[in-house]
Symmetry: C2
Subunit: 192 residues, 2 copies
Amino acid sequence: MEILKKRILSDGEIHEGNILKVDGFLNHQIDIPFLQEIGKEFYRLFKDENINKILTIESSGIAIGSMVAQEFGCPLVFAKKSITKNIAGDIYLTPVESYTHGTTYGVIVSKSFLGKEDRVLIVDDFLAIGNALDGLIHIVKESGAELVGCGAVIEKGFQGGGDRLRKKGIHVESLAIIESMDCENKTIVFRD
Amino acid sequence: MEILKKRILSDGEIHEGNILKVDGFLNHQIDIPFLQEIGKEFYRLFKDENINKILTIESSGIAIGSMVAQEFGCPLVFAKKSITKNIAGDIYLTPVESYTHGTTYGVIVSKSFLGKEDRVLIVDDFLAIGNALDGLIHIVKESGAELVGCGAVIEKGFQGGGDRLRKKGIHVESLAIIESMDCENKTIVFRD
């Protein structure tokens, strides 16, 4: 998605440790008209799949998920993160390792909001190692719902999560795939 | 807002300790077309105020904030919660007490995204005691931005936060104000 690549180049900040900050338009201050375009692009990519539920994870997936769900005219469910790994109730719960923080947290979705009648598109802001997506995919499968695919706004191709999921046969679409980043020269190379 | 009151009565669950669960349409599974109507209502209430930024707090304010920002055609900024109360960097940080959890957390907004050029509408899902709103209001004032008002989807009138802020001269609009709830009989009385 050309406007996204341009926006990453103009507003993204590269920091040490392969960190790309897009706080100015994607996950702290959110450019809502821009996100509407992102929603439309995911709709274009998945519109023939009879999707009836969008699934994401708090917090930075929620605004994106809202704009995607708006295009599909369907509900958004956002998974909650909890440091408590044992919570009672009718929930799907799976542990996810945080690459950034070196900790493990629980990802939780209420059983009321995901089931075998659902055709689910998972969306998130970033796809890197893919740990969060793995957790969400696990929950979709446990619920008996049909996983239609996964959409990431920005994929860090060099961290391999997207290609690992594609090799498993999962339909993964990322609107911009970063092949490499150079913190010193402030350059970003996108995959074609 | 009549459709909201009806939805609370049909889908809300009253639990002990004055807890109203609206997980089915507002803050876990989100009815996006319904939220668009909520966004339009806040726009109707504040459209003459030259608002150029919507401020909310993660996580359950983000979807609402997105729909409100969409109506105003302006960016959304969501404040982050952190258990770490001392974080370096160019941020506004204020401590907020959690009534529900009995703990204190830090509410954080980057200084890059709020300043004296901004006319801000704060929105959130619930207004009860008003601690989270107090924190956001404090940050808006610290930034030099103009606080235009606060919008809550559901106000628990009996917990007093909304009226306390109104007495201070802040323009607070809540789309449904609950005067009382009865857990045993499952009844809700709205303020006229």
